[in-house]
């Protein structure tokens, strides 16, 4: 038999076992393929990894919590070891959350690990998203992966919110009450939607169990599936890299996964785990025992959602209640604009977020593949737009803590709202213009550096008496980074085959002008040559 002839025979027992397994599952082929994948090395490339590791920690700690949590809203009298709640009537869910915190060994630690990991998970996703946006890593061929990543961001918010709602204390109940209010504000279907979601009138007896199913099964399954797609696409597309000598659109410069990255990544997992464990062991998160069991009547001062839901809550807080109008329209039902309008910013922000790669591709007519990243300063419009988006988001997020800003900075709550309302409308534009100006200035600084070199601070007197400062030219590696970048120019509206300029094309042309009219061109070889000549003359060495 031909396939038996060349079979490798191991000489040791472990070798024989390994060979037995390998010939049946083909592990060495997989290792050969993936172990030699190259990844470029840069600290900004590691936030996706942080998110992934946080997710693993979330699953581990969450599994532990499921052993003890009782997602039931049946009423019972607390009889655990937390004295201030002894004898208080509460739901089984809240009682078991207290039980986990005070009577299960390691329970409070695990709860805090789970919650801190959740916060870090979303932080890491957000920072990763910003890195991808500001470096232009979403461009072809990665547009779809940008969308998949955006879905992960939304899913992570859903996972966080459903988890936040589970303990059934006053804080989490207030969050659900807001969701209930927003649902009911939706015209026509709102009330039915709320009744459907809560299994009757709010708060009902069903919602904690339903949220639990969502939180531990459906949303994690969706997240894992999306992560798998996300990572698969990373493998298919290969990783992007920052510009530098020897780095092209056709190669990836870095180390292979095995053994360097496998070891580094494995170690980094434990670093992330360590940071989360350190926080969970030393810093309280969500002190559910302070809030008391949920009861729809009280709302406590300082009631906020976790940070990643803050922007939506903040938009609601920024909306005037009844000024200068009652914000209601009667048209086939009541449209409660005071609740519906604050949902518009979220729709705009997420809409622009998901469509940005196509918007930019349409405006620039750039359909090339990009594996070399932009330095943010070299794409002033995009960087400005990104900072505008981040600013808008942050203003809304800050609005969610308006009461704490008022108490801690000794200003009036109303004034905080007025100032934030101003920045809600104008902040993004101010941030955009400032950022774009900074980018253009940095580009000019780069030009200066390339053309005139580094000022050494060394002043020399020439034989004929003139004083000059010696400028040291950049070395080739540094110069490469500063001169070799994409710098799109305005592409005006083009007539189509029939010689007509369509309305859409006209808009595109105008946008292109907006994007690229102010531009600092990279230094051309001729300019460099001329500058060198000039310097040589100036320093009188010829």
């Amino acid at each position: 038999m031909s396939n038996a002839v060349n079979e490798y025979q191991a000489s040791t027992t472990p070798g024989r076992i390994a060979n037995f397994v390998d010939t049946r599952v083909g592990m060495s082929g997989i290792v050969r393929e993936f172990g030699r994948k190259i990844f470029p090395d840069h600290w900004t490339f590691m936030f996706g990894e942080v998110a992934l590791y946080s997710l693993v920690i979330l699953i581990l700690s969450g599994t532990y919590l499921t052993f003890f949590f009782d997602p039931s809203m049946t009423s019972k009298v607390y009889d655990g070891s937390y004295v201030p709640m002894k004898g208080v009537e509460m739901s089984a869910a809240y009682a078991s959350a207290l039980h986990i915190s005070f009577d299960i060994r390691g329970g409070l630690f695990m709860r805090q690990v789970h919650h801190w990991a959740a916060l870090l998970f979303v932080v890491a996703i957000a920072v990763h998203m910003m890195r991808v946006f500001f470096t232009g890593a979403f461009r072809r061929p990665r547009e779809l992966n940008w969308v998949v990543g955006g879905m992960l961001f939304v899913l992570s918010m859903a996972a966080g919110f459903t988890g936040y709602s589970l303990p059934d204390d006053v804080l989490s109940g207030n969050g659900l009450r807001i969701i209930d209010g927003v649902m009911k504000a939706i015209p026509l279907v709102g009330t039915h939607l709320s009744l459907f979601f809560f299994g009757g009138e709010f708060p009902g007896h069903a919602v904690i169990g339903r949220l639990y199913t969502l939180h531990i099964m459906i949303i994690p399954a969706l997240i894992l599936l999306t992560v798998a797609i996300h990572l698969f696409m990373v493998v298919v597309h290969k990783h992007t890299q920052y510009p530098g000598p020897g780095r092209t659109e056709k190669n990836v410069v870095g180390f292979p996964v095995g053994p360097v990255y496998a070891a580094k990544a494995g170690g980094f997992f434990f670093v992330v785990f360590g940071i989360i464990a350190l926080m969970a062991g030393t810093v309280t998160i969500n002190a559910i025992w302070n809030y008391g069991p949920y009861d729809p009547s009280p709302v406590q001062a300082g009631t906020q959602p976790d940070w990643y839901i803050g922007w939506v809550d903040g938009a609601l807080r920024l909306m005037p209640g009844a000024w200068p109008w009652h914000w209601q329209v009667q048209a086939g039902g009541t449209w409660v604009l005071a609740v519906l309008l604050p949902m518009v910013p979220a729709a705009i922000l997420l809409g622009l977020f998901f469509t940005w790669p196509w918007l930019e591709r349409w405006v620039t007519k750039d359909n090339r593949e990009h594996h070399i990243l932009d330095r943010p300063r070299n794409a002033p419009f995009r960087t400005g737009a990104g900072v505008a988006g981040v600013t808008w988001y942050s203003i809304m997020m800050m609005a969610a803590s308006s009461d704490l800003i008022a108490t801690h900075f000794h200003v009036a709550l109303n004034d905080v709202a007025y100032v934030l309302r101003f920045f809600f409308f104008f902040g993004p534009f101010i941030a955009f213009e400032i950022t774009r100006r900074i980018c253009l200035s940095l580009q000019r600084k780069d030009r200066e550096l390339v053309l005139h070199g580094i000022e050494t601070g060394r002043v020399v007197q020439l034989p004929h008496g003139e004083f000059i400062e010696v400028h040291e030219p950049l070395n080739e590696y540094d110069r490469y980074r500063l001169v070799n970048f994409n710098s799109p120019v305005v592409s005006p509206a083009q007539p189509d085959k029939k010689g007509k300029i369509s309305g859409g094309e006209r808009v595109r042309g105008r946008l292109s002008r907006l994007f690229f009219e102010d531009r600092v061109a990279p230094v051309s070889p001729e300019e460099l040559e001329a500058a060198h000549k000039h310097h040589e003359l100036e320093s009188g060495s010829h």
Binding site: W43, T284, V299, A301, G302, L413
Partner: protein, 264 residues
């Protein structure tokens, strides 16, 4: 019965009915307000000397705003009937005399000694009956029930003072201060008199025993070390979010920079 129904159209019937109704409501109100009125201080009997000394202090420190005999001016309310408890709270916590007119009197180091505060209290108490300084018995936290206190606190106080008693914002620069490290006496007096923007929780609303339970709960919060570690000001998700974005992310970035510092 028939006689009564026949006379119901008598010209005096309406007047008699009105008189009966007035006597009934008046009587009921008298009974109700007697239970509502905080017990005047029984333990602390103020002497005439106290009142006289208090009057002197009042003339030189308080009269500018509250009037020479506590009748109130445009700048300060009348103090007739506010009782010793209000003075003990406002002066004892340093809120009065106010540093300046503003939305709310700020807490600051007290300006008067305990004796002087007592003298001032006795003078204001002499202007008209009002809630007195609570006795030792109502402040004894060893007799209070923290669990019941938590219930009362979360239902009545947490909406302004925060679930952990760490304070919160009100409209137009007003605020509910933190309740940590406030003395038992001052907490009780605040509930009794409703200083600044706080509502009055009289004895029918929150009984003296429940007031003691609330104090017991707050003192338990104060002395219990936070079970989860650093409490971050007990401010909830905002301080947690700030922590993860600064310290948490800072640590992570530190490690990412370190891990990639010695590559290519």
């Amino acid at each position: 019965m028939k006689a009564l129904s026949q006379k119901r159209r008598h010209p005096l019937a309406a007047i008699i009915l009105l008189a009966v109704a007035l006597v009934l409501t008046g009587g009921l109100y008298a009974v109700a307000s007697a239970t509502n009125q905080a017990k005047a201080d029984s333990e602390q009997n103020y002497t005439a000397d106290d009142i006289a000394a208090g009057q002197k202090l009042f003339q030189s420190n308080c009269a500018t705003c509250h009037g020479t005999s506590g009748e109130g001016t445009d700048n300060g309310p009348s103090l007739v009937g506010v009782g010793a408890a209000a003075v003990d709270f406002q002066v004892g916590t340093g809120r009065m005399p106010m540093q300046m007119q503003g939305t709310q009197a700020q807490i600051k180091p007290g300006q008067f000694t305990d004796d002087q505060t007592k003298q001032l209290s006795s003078y204001v108490a002499s202007l008209g009956a009002g809630p007195g300084v609570p006795d030792k018995e109502s402040l004894d936290t060893s007799k209070g029930d923290a669990a019941n206190g938590a219930k009362v606190f979360l239902a009545n106080c947490a909406m302004c003072h925060n679930a952990a008693g760490s304070g919160g914002a009100l409209t137009r620069g007003k605020f509910a201060p933190t309740l940590m490290n406030v003395s038992e006496e001052h907490i009780y007096e605040a509930m009794e008199t409703g200083p600044q923007n706080m509502p009055v929780f009289n004895d029918a609303n929150i009984t003296p025993d429940e007031k003691r339970d609330v104090i017991t709960y707050l003192k338990a919060q104060e002395s219990n070390s936070s079970p989860g570690g650093l409490a971050l000001g007990s401010l909830g998700p905002v301080s947690e979010g700030l922590f993860i974005w600064t310290i948490g992310l800072g640590l992570v970035i530190g490690f990412t920079v370190w891990l990639t510092s010695r590559s290519a």
